[in-house]
Symmetry: C2
Subunit: 328 residues, 2 copies
Amino acid sequence: MTVTIKDIAETANVSIATVSRVLADKEGFYSEKTATKVRQTAEKLGYRKNTAAVELVTQRSQVIGVIVSATKTNFANDIIAGIQDEAFKHNLSVIILYAGESDVDQQHRALQTVIERSVMGILILAIRPADADIAMLRAANIPHVFLSTSFDSQQLPFIGSDDFRIGYQATDFLIKKGHKKIGIAAIDRHSYIGTQRILGFQRAMADHDLPTKPEWIQDGKFTYDDGVEAMTTYGAQTELDAVIGTSDLAAIGVMNQAVAFGLSVPDDLAIMSIDGTQMVKIVRPQITSVTQSFYKMGNRGMKMMLQRDMDKFESQYTPFRIDERDST
Amino acid sequence: MTVTIKDIAETANVSIATVSRVLADKEGFYSEKTATKVRQTAEKLGYRKNTAAVELVTQRSQVIGVIVSATKTNFANDIIAGIQDEAFKHNLSVIILYAGESDVDQQHRALQTVIERSVMGILILAIRPADADIAMLRAANIPHVFLSTSFDSQQLPFIGSDDFRIGYQATDFLIKKGHKKIGIAAIDRHSYIGTQRILGFQRAMADHDLPTKPEWIQDGKFTYDDGVEAMTTYGAQTELDAVIGTSDLAAIGVMNQAVAFGLSVPDDLAIMSIDGTQMVKIVRPQITSVTQSFYKMGNRGMKMMLQRDMDKFESQYTPFRIDERDST
DNA sequence: CTGAAAGCGCTTACAG
DNA sequence: CTGAAAGCGCTTACAG
């Protein structure tokens, strides 16, 4: 039914070894004459390479596995684009698996799938797996990099933003605009990213001798609803004069609720977001953002993967910048 | 280096056949006693199944290939979620490949990749491949379904919305709200979807004896910028009293430009969008939308795939509804 | 430049 | 319930 190199070999009157060489472009191992004959026969017969066989015999696949937090699809798309473009250049396929950010089961299965598939590399976006899964990942001996996260430990290679500096600079930016009472909304204290941003925020406030109150920091998981909720908690009469939303959607949630309260942005309340995806440009007023280099994270992640040697992987921060728009 | 079933067989003192059966849960083919021994040994040795070998010998993969238009990431995420959830239930992996909507080269390579990988099914989102590629797809004899598109021909199985009815009902909705001069923005006349929506629009206008002008229909590719451009062309003094944006982003583009012109939405100009993703809820005013069932498209697409027999594939429309919000 | 042969890791009739 | 053996489609030393 399906045509194999054996079929080609027979009709072209050569050995399967030769067919294999020609089709894999092992230059120098065949004459142009046979090559042409083989290629034409392959074409005529409608031959398709069997990837499973190739991967079995070569012991490595041309596949990159990407595990994505299902709830982070907003910026994940940019990271994936960065991965995809680089993968495309090197003729690599990309398997994408979605897993809930806190669904350990799904994460485990996703990881297991890519490992059993012997992918050549694993990229993990915005997820911090359970310790058992991290152990499994290491045991598998497959190069892997964490994207859009960072860790305190140097053990796990990551490419992300320096979240302490993000927190610091966002706050500093607002302070320099004259704000003194600044909230930070929808932040996950249980994540390393969250704690780093809070530390940065607090340091910036302290550096300017500004006091803070615990309730200015509102917990959440970076979602739109968390943003709305944070603003609801701050209330219409809030003493705050600025709020940092810890994601674009969170910031938009804050803004919509603020406006619903009758507050004017930025006059009554300045709003800033962290991420800087397309979102912040399509709302009105457009939101000033700390813009992260998501595309670059994906791109660099792939390039790191290509080195193959995990020992050489070095965690790194991608640059970010502040884009001032109309909400501050 | 990597441990295989042979290693397990040796240390557990059974044949590889038995190991294979136990690990594949071929019940009835082994005693619980051996099973336990085998499983423990596998665990102890840190065994990982080699998917390439399995796929080679079983002649079929547990992978679904999804080819996505890179520019449609907005609603594609919902479709993918629908695919992913169903795939997860059946223990299938999903390979996602992005390809430019009009980048024939990328499309060809993406298709080739999934075919060579002998995936068990191919789902194509919002892309209409070149004829040559469609021929290749068919020759590959792999079940495939087109999602979020429709065709005039019955040859290609698709799951999408009835775009004629979408165009008709959106227009009809606005007319019943009292609007008489309605524009349709950022629509691609060269796509089947585009022409269908336009036909629906025209039919609805005709059914209500309302005249239309050609310039009320503004070309585009469903993007935000196309929406802005369409509104710019209509102008601040436009005679239109309502505009249908042919995607959420396009509608937001229209709205932002209208507001920039000093028009009030919905009083001076009513705006409606087609898609109904999260986008329309985070902008102010929230936009009334024709809401498509993207998740369901993905889900049904996967279920269709699972039947495996392409002859039974029947193109179908997923439901849509109108969600009234504040822009009309 | 070309071919015969071994082997990648697994599954599955077939025989017991 | 278990094992020996064939075979999936390909690559790659090795020998010529």
